[in-house]
């Protein structure tokens, strides 16, 4: 187990290297300030807020159905997770039971999204690592998943699968689509096995990522880190285990011990076969029946909360319903809590590794930019 890392807050650190808000290595605009001594990062500070679009304000007062499809535009990577959770909030409040078949299709969409998010992470991570071949390879495997998502949802990024009471009829899975998903899963499995073999056996890559950007387990729990980043520090916590949507499926929770960049990358590599496992179970046992049940009624409810596990951690949505319209909408994305981990991961590492330490926590600052303040971090 790694000892606790602490930033030295008493001394004044004179050298500051700041990046951002628009910077070549960072795809998304954010500002990071690295306080260094002899090229060793002593403290890091990440500032967001450049991307604030006020989507919760736009949602305020919209009809629930419209607001649900708007939540998809929060993030272009985990778009299905947002619409799914937003719909779950309404279903929880209005007491709607959805058909089993719809639930299975939602799970298939979510797991496909987890696959593409993890592949994107591997591609982005390899690119920051400086290994473009691995990056290209991950992008290549990801393309199979994107094609499947396009086939089911009709669009490569924003699929809009879930609606209140089920899924959209266009997302119905017929025999041909099920066959294509099964074939796609075989391709992805083959691809990830080859990728993992080369990745783990590559001594240059391993020497670059081993033992840097360590997040100790104690601090990960203290910072309330969620998702794969937390599991990479050895905590066995996955919200999917507690969700009733995932009850019919059998899968394992992957954990890694060290909490460094290597554990984080391997974490995603090992989670991909688990997602494939879930998708295979879902298409094998797909129940028959309709995919949407529109016999629900709208009434007013107080604030309803819903937590789900998305590719990057725990997602929280809550709103109240008044006259069929959304009130007091709050969205909290997983990167919000993982920012603390990103700052801690940089401490004690070489400045050239700092970007890698930030990327290892799977940041998505775009969806995180909301008027929210974390006090006593």
């Amino acid at each position: 187990m790694v000892e606790e890392k602490k930033p030295n807050k008493q001394d004044v650190i004179e050298t500051e290297i700041s990046m951002g808000t628009v910077h070549p290595t960072a795809l998304e605009p954010y500002r990071v300030r690295l306080f260094v001594e002899d090229e060793i990062v002593k403290e890091a500070e990440i500032t967001i807020g450049v991307n604030h679009r006020g989507i919760e304000r736009i949602m305020e007062g919209l009809p629930v159905e419209k607001a649900n499809s708007l939540t998809e535009k929060v993030c272009g990577i985990c778009s299905n997770a947002h619409i799914w959770n937003s719909v779950l909030v309404a279903e929880k409040g209005l007491g709607i039971e959805i058909p089993q078949r719809a639930n299975y299709i939602r799970i298939i969409m979510e797991e496909l999204e987890r696959l593409h998010s993890h592949f994107l992470y591997l591609a982005h991570g390899s690119e920051v690592l400086g290994h473009e071949t691995f990056s290209m390879r991950a992008f290549y495997i990801r393309e199979t998943v994107m094609e499947l998502l396009r086939m089911i949802g009709g669009n490569r990024v924003q699929y809009g699968a879930s609606i209140i009471g089920g899924v959209r009829p266009r997302c119905e899975l017929n025999e041909m689509r099920i066959q294509k998903i099964a074939e796609g899963m075989d391709d992805v499995e083959k691809g990830i096995t080859k990728f993992a073999d080369r990745f783990v056996l590559d001594p240059i890559v391993m020497s670059r990522i081993e033992g840097i950007g360590v997040i100790p387990q104690k601090q990960a729990i203290k910072l309330e880190v969620t998702g794969p980043t937390l599991r990479a520090t050895g905590v066995n916590q996955d919200l999917r285990m507690k969700m009733k949507e995932y009850e019919p499926f059998d899968f394992d929770v992957i954990t890694q011990d060290d909490g460094d960049v290597k554990s984080n990358l391997l974490m995603r590599v090992l989670e991909i076969p688990e997602s494939i496992k879930i998708i295979r179970q879902a298409i094998k046992n797909l129940p028959s029946g309709s995919v949407v049940d529109r016999s629900w009624e709208m009434f007013d409810c107080n604030t309803i909360k819903s937590y789900i596990e998305v590719p990057r951690g725990t997602l929280y949505h809550s709103y109240a319903i008044e006259d069929g319209r959304v009130r007091n909408s709050v969205i909290r994305t997983p990167s919000m809590t993982n920012i603390g981990a990103m700052q801690y991961a940089c401490i004690g590492d070489h400045i050239t590794d700092a970007q890698l330490c930030i990327v290892q926590c799977d940041p998505c600052f775009t969806c995180t930019d909301r008027a929210m303040k974390i006090i006593n971090l």
Binding site: T21, V22, H23, P24, T25, L27, E28, P29, G49, V50, N51, H52, R53, G54, I55, I58, L70, K73, V74, C75, G76, I77, S79, L120, A123, E127, S135, M136, F139, Y140, R142, E143, N155, R156, V157, Q158, C364, T366, C367, D369
Partner: protein, 148 residues
């Protein structure tokens, strides 16, 4: 064709600027250039992150308030001749974040991109498809190559 244009035609450099969209277009653009499936690099189109190297500026996202100044600076840093491609519904009309192409002033969204810098090619879609982006970039090329 001058020597400059001759050499430029063999290495078009794209620069992607991201001004606060949802990440969807952004990844599709990177995907379009880097991923082996679309692979714009085989058509001698390269992705760069340095404005002084770039020929084509690809802008995604509605321009948020804090991104307005950086976008202007980046546009000015690109040497002539240059072309701007606005990609995605947000860059074209402000997307869902602005009052869909309305002119009611907004404190948060300064976009669409047209309001801030001149746009040559508009590529629609939410999110843009990589194929569309490729044809959009190709449409912008005559402006660059016939410049001198």
């Amino acid at each position: 064709m001058s020597l400059k244009s001759f050499s430029r035609a063999r290495a078009i450099h794209l620069m992607l600027v991201y001004t606060g969209g949802c990440n969807g277009c952004d990844i599709e653009v990177v995907n379009c250039v880097l991923s082996p499936k679309f692979d714009a690099e085989q058509y001698k189109v390269f992705l760069t992150w340095n404005p002084r190297e770039a020929d084509v500026l690809v802008v995604t996202g509605p321009v948020t308030k804090f991104n307005e100044e950086p976008l202007k600076k980046i546009y000015e840093a690109i040497p002539e001749p240059k072309a701007v491609v606005a990609a995605g519904a947000c860059a074209l009309i402000g997307g869902v974040y602005k009052n869909i192409h309305g002119d009611i002033p907004s404190e948060e969204i300064m976009g669409p991109v047209e309001n801030i810098i001149p746009v040559d090619v508009k590529v629609p879609g939410c999110a843009v498809r990589p194929q569309d982006l490729l044809s959009g970039v190709v449409t912008a090329l005559p402006k660059l190559l016939n410049a001198d």
